[in-house]
């Protein structure tokens, strides 16, 4: 028909924005992956974060107490299987899928500076901080240097040496705050998106609860960092808290004057 309007192009090249496509009903598996991403953040990763921070609190008791905690965790049955199944694999999935989610969003706080919008952006920023931090943390503390599963007594010294670098200390503090924020806001998001707290009041109250929980978790985490660097009692911790004490030779006494045989002091021949 001559009177019909030309079709609207699928994208406006001038403004560089492609048209948003309509919903694809019943196609793809992104629903499942999103739900797994959301769930994995709480169980097992969030549960592990709580366990990790509570274990680190043992460091307040010194190198031996911390070493005992590391030995206890490494004596769990099939600990390597548990470690990969409930920590590394879910964490790798949550991190990579989360990175993909973050890269597809368009932050708009410059135009719409609202609390929820800031929360959206902060969840992505804290996630990226945690992503970068955890890669170096797992590599440097778990897979390189002294192997802690075999030498649990060396745990305190290993962390203390790491935090001796002020840049590392700053990174640990920032990452602790970011991770606790990401986890506690993630619990709130989970409850909101899974329909556990649909009402405005329920979401607000649960938000306060999550904020309190995150604050407590963060304080515990920062206290454990303090245990490694701030307590003068445990400064310069032994390389291995469980190593048998080295045999110390008494210093040889100086030979008396007029001694002819320094190896037999006191006997004048």
């Amino acid at each position: 028909m001559a009177t019909s309007a030309p079709p609207i192009p699928t994208h406006s090249s001038v403004r560089g924005i492609k048209k948003v496509q309509p919903l694809h009903p019943d196609t793809g598996h992104s629903f499942l992956w999103h739900k797994l991403h959301s769930l994995s953040g709480l169980i097992p990763i969030g549960a592990f974060l709580i366990e990790h921070i509570l274990s680190n609190i043992e460091a307040l008791g010194g190198p031996a107490a911390y070493g005992h905690q590391v030995r206890l965790l490494n004596s769990l049955p099939q600990v390597r299987v548990l470690e990969w199944t409930f920590i590394f694999i879910p964490l790798a999935f949550h991190a990579t899928y989360g990175l993909w989610i973050a890269l597809r969003g368009r932050a708009t706080v410059n135009v719409y500076p609202w609390a929820g919008n800031w929360g959206y952006l902060t969840q992505r920023i804290t996630g990226l901080i945690a992503f970068a931090y955890i890669i170096q943390h797992v590599w440097r503390q778990r897979f390189s240097g002294v192997m802690l599963p075999e030498h649990p007594g060396a745990a305190f010294a290993k962390v203390q040496h790491e935090l001796h670098n002020p840049w590392m200390l700053a990174l640990y503090i920032v990452a602790m705050i970011a991770t606790c924020w990401h986890f506690s806001y993630g619990i709130w998001l989970f409850a909101a998106k899974w329909g556990i707290t649909p009402g405005n009041r329920a979401r607000k109250r649960f938000g306060q609860l999550c904020a309190a929980f995150g604050t407590v978790l963060c304080i515990l985490g920062l206290a454990s960092i303090y245990a490694f660097v701030g307590n003068p009692k445990f400064a310069n911790a032994p390389a291995d808290a469980f190593a048998p004490p080295a045999i110390t030779q008494p210093a040889p006494a100086p030979p008396p004057p007029n001694s002819t045989n320094p190896s037999q002091p006191g006997i004048v021949q």
Binding site: R15, K19, Q21, P22, L23, P25, F31, V111, G195
Partner: protein
């Protein structure tokens, strides 16, 4: 208040033209809205430099925030031209020109008019209607409890203005997120005693790619919605329903 309002409008003649900015100086009257500003320009389409131009093209119909046509970016924010008052904008940014631009996430047709077909496609995909064929008299519909009516009424206020989609950080060409309006309408018709016959279809559709799972709960939709729809609540409840449907399908379908 100044006697003249300065307006900067981002214009383009065709969908593929380069965008350009035109400036206008309009005599101020009390209680003007953006619609009346655009009306003044149409009466006397001459730019601030004195060059003759064409009236601004934009979608509008009711002029009282009920048809949903005139959503645009006003000082960078998605708002309705009819219910945004010049006095409010002058208080927001005193002595600055008012900037008008088309919504940024929809293809421009001309000037401030954009193609918002994606919302209507989405409403069709989730079957946002009550299925009655209309070939014969079906008699009265099933009764609704007043509580259901009261819960549904705010959702029925949606004017399809697409502001909730424009302000959403997740609504973009990467995620192809369905947007809050469609989810709220799916819930509205899921709650209808007759419309709930299609509930499973709607929930399955919303679990497809670009579905409800893409929501990042920034809640900009709630803040920006001119009709104050309970959008976050709708996404929360519909998200739960969609997941329960998927679980049920996993074991029974």
């Amino acid at each position: 208040m100044p006697s003249t309002i300065h307006v900067e409008i981002l214009r383009q003649s065709t969908p593929d033209d380069a965008a350009r900015t035109e400036r206008f100086a309009i005599p101020y009257r009390p209680n003007m809205n953006i619609t009346s500003v655009l009306g003044e320009i149409a009466l006397n389409p001459i730019t601030a430099d004195g060059a003759p131009t064409t009236p601004i093209t934009y979608d509008s119909n009711c002029l009282e925030e009920i048809c949903g046509s005139c959503a645009m970016l006003i000082n960078g924010r998605a708002r309705m031209a009819c219910s945004t008052l010049v006095d409010t904008l002058q208080k927001e940014h005193p002595d600055k020109p008012i900037r008008l631009a088309p919504l940024s996430k929809f293809p421009v047709v001309r000037d401030l008019a954009v193609d918002r077909a994606v919302l209507f496609e989405n409403l069709k995909v989730v079957k946002a209607w009550v299925p009655i064929d209309g070939t014969y008299d079906l008699g009265p519909g099933p009764r609704q409890f007043p509580q259901t009516q009261e819960a549904r009424y705010p959702l029925s206020n949606c004017i399809s203005c697409t502001i909730c989609m424009e302000v959403c950080p997740q609504f973009n060409d990467q995620t192809n997120f369905v947007g809050a309006a469609t989810i709220a309408q799916a819930r509205l018709f899921n709650m209808d005693p007759a419309g709930s016959v299609l509930k499973q279809d709607r929930l399955r559709a919303l679990a497809g790619d670009g579905g409800i799972q893409e929501c990042g709960f920034a809640q900009n939709c709630v803040e920006a919605c001119p009709k104050l729809l309970p959008l976050a609540e709708s996404i929360s409840i519909t998200g739960r329903d969609a997941m329960l449907q998927q679980l049920k399908d996993l074991f029974t379908r």
